[in-house]
Symmetry: C2
Subunit: 265 residues, 2 copies
Amino acid sequence: MQGVTILGNNSAVPAFDRHPTSQVLTTREQLYLIDCGEGTQIQIIHYKIRRSKIHRIFISHLHGDHYFGLIGLINSMGLLGRIQPLHIHGPAPLWEILQLQLREADTHLPFDLQFHPLPAEGFVAEDKNTVVHCFPTNHRISCWGFLFEEKQPTRAEKDAGRTRGLSYAFCADTRYDPAMAERIRGVDWMYHETTYLDELRSTAEARYHSTTRQAAEIARQAGASHLLIGHFSSKYAELEAFQQEAAEVFPNTYLATEGTTFLFR
Amino acid sequence: MQGVTILGNNSAVPAFDRHPTSQVLTTREQLYLIDCGEGTQIQIIHYKIRRSKIHRIFISHLHGDHYFGLIGLINSMGLLGRIQPLHIHGPAPLWEILQLQLREADTHLPFDLQFHPLPAEGFVAEDKNTVVHCFPTNHRISCWGFLFEEKQPTRAEKDAGRTRGLSYAFCADTRYDPAMAERIRGVDWMYHETTYLDELRSTAEARYHSTTRQAAEIARQAGASHLLIGHFSSKYAELEAFQQEAAEVFPNTYLATEGTTFLFR
């Protein structure tokens, strides 16, 4: 895995030119798209992501800010003549939603769209060098985080003394949940939502979201090496305080700013 | 009716910073939104449209570039605390799509969302000063155009000699169809799609779309006063030729450029 590019970092309502959740993970062979809020296909064009290299899309849950852009992206891939199969991994009802929209538009995609419902927990997908598992988060509706792991370190990594491949955890939308730290123990890079600053801890709890210090606490407990934070509430025009508060607990914290690619080395 | 503001003027795939179809019609009391492609809620923010003044949304058909932004807009209206009812007028299956997406997100809107399936043809809605009718267009799937008419001229219009109120026709996606001219005879302003320049007349026919000269021909046959053209194919980076070709048949033609408000007087 070379790194992750942030396409959207805002929570539910778009604001301050920030977009809903979407990230692109660059593996050794292909691109994985993680979540796909409304407008993701525009962000993909804007940040010059090679759409044809996306072979798998992972959707964490069925709140709109995490998937309303998916049908439009699939539709455009079809109109642009894609022929390679596309795999969607998401909550089971997503398939009904996509099929209904394709059927009513009388759309016949020129490529094979394969849907794989997420299991409660465990194995999701595997490619030559990468394996993906999912785990439940603590959210208002069923929601899954994803753990992406390289099966082996690269030759250069081995020479540098690494005994296992790189890993990335996308922790999706969640309340503070110490059980999550166990599930991603020792991860190299992780993304955790910080919808609110720590002053709104009770709001976060009530709305099944997390604060800066809570995200950092999970990263610390997990023994992660790096933490990305995002899913910022539309109340906040400025984001610096998010990084500052999280860094007090976990110094190696980065704001998931849109258009930034975080290289995993 | 004071005028119409263009939020999106591109056909299916977003390109050249142009967006899928959406327009805002300003009536004497409120705003009507016509079609709602992906990203419309962002365009509404960008062009400072007063979202709370939108009381009716009209959806012409279920190709994604005309409605994929609707669920996101509805969702955001709910999150922002809207309480006024919202009326959606569209093809019957749209209601199933919206309900499925709201149900899977466990979303309970704080306002009354009322869905009104479109009849094959005829009366759609009525407000104090405005009445709306629909008519079928000639497209690959069921598609409706809308005719918006003021019931009475304003006092100023009467003083200027007008005997009837202003009218606007949104002709949606369609092949060249002379029957349409009959349905909108004498309209003051009309929008007609011009997906292609006239050199691609056979492509237009095959894909159930229209060319510049065909749109202008309908405006001429209808005896319209003004013609707006849009729904431009992503093949075209430049749009000047659209206006030029249409104006050869119907001089009073305007490009539906995004962000422009066409005042109806």
